[in-house]
Symmetry: C2
Subunit: 126 residues, 2 copies
């Protein structure tokens, strides 16, 4: 299929697909050019793009997604390995949540310590 169809079926824009190619996240064109120089994409490429989307939906970065896919390609995506990776991601998310929570608490305590009577708020006083 050509890039337009691939774009529709993968849900990624043409630009994104070309970007992934440039970055080497998908390799293609690599022989599959039509006479007119148009690239012919295979179903395998489509599956790869869908996989990227799925993994990214879990909050992984493109690079992390690529690493996971390499693992899968290598047949090394054992449950334990994947669970391990997912756990690390969860911990990173939890850490981020903790940061945000304490930031929120900081703001709330700032607000609640405000006298609310003057015409100048002390929240940002040095």
């Amino acid at each position: 299929m050509l890039i337009g169809e691939l774009s529709k079926r993968s849900g990624l824009t043409k630009d994104t697909i070309r970007f992934y190619e440039k970055q080497g996240y998908i390799k293609v064109g690599w022989r599959e050019r039509r006479v007119n120089n148009y690239k012919e994409y295979s179903e395998a490429v489509l599956r790869r793009l869908l996989l990227f989307r799925k993994i990214k939906a879990y909050g992984f970065s493109l690079n992390e997604a690529a690493e996971l896919i390499a693992l899968i390609d290598a047949g090394a995506a054992l449950c334990d390995t994947v669970a391990q990776v997912a756990h690390e991601r969860i911990e990173a998310i939890e850490e981020k949540i903790r940061e945000l929570t304490s930031l929120k608490a900081l703001l709330q305590s700032g607000i609640s310590s405000c006298p609310r009577r003057t015409d100048h708020c002390s929240l940002f006083d040095l």
Copy 2:
């Protein structure tokens, strides 16, 4: 004071201070050059930098900090106004926390739905 001292007293690197100047977050040098072209910074600039640090510590971006400082400069930093801004920030943080929490749940449900017996994890199957 010269930039070296300002850097030490503000806790910001010289590069950061120069960056703030370039971006117009602080205006200086504006007459206060020594004969040798060295910039002379005032205590007012130091206070401004400390204010930026403080506001940024609350998780505001540089631009938001600049807006808040403009408010303060204008004498318009009423408690209600500031509380309003802080509330918006808190809501944004809460929204982010909700996103992260659901992402975490997604990952967790993915992991827990894993049979954990095969040599290929189904978590990332299409």
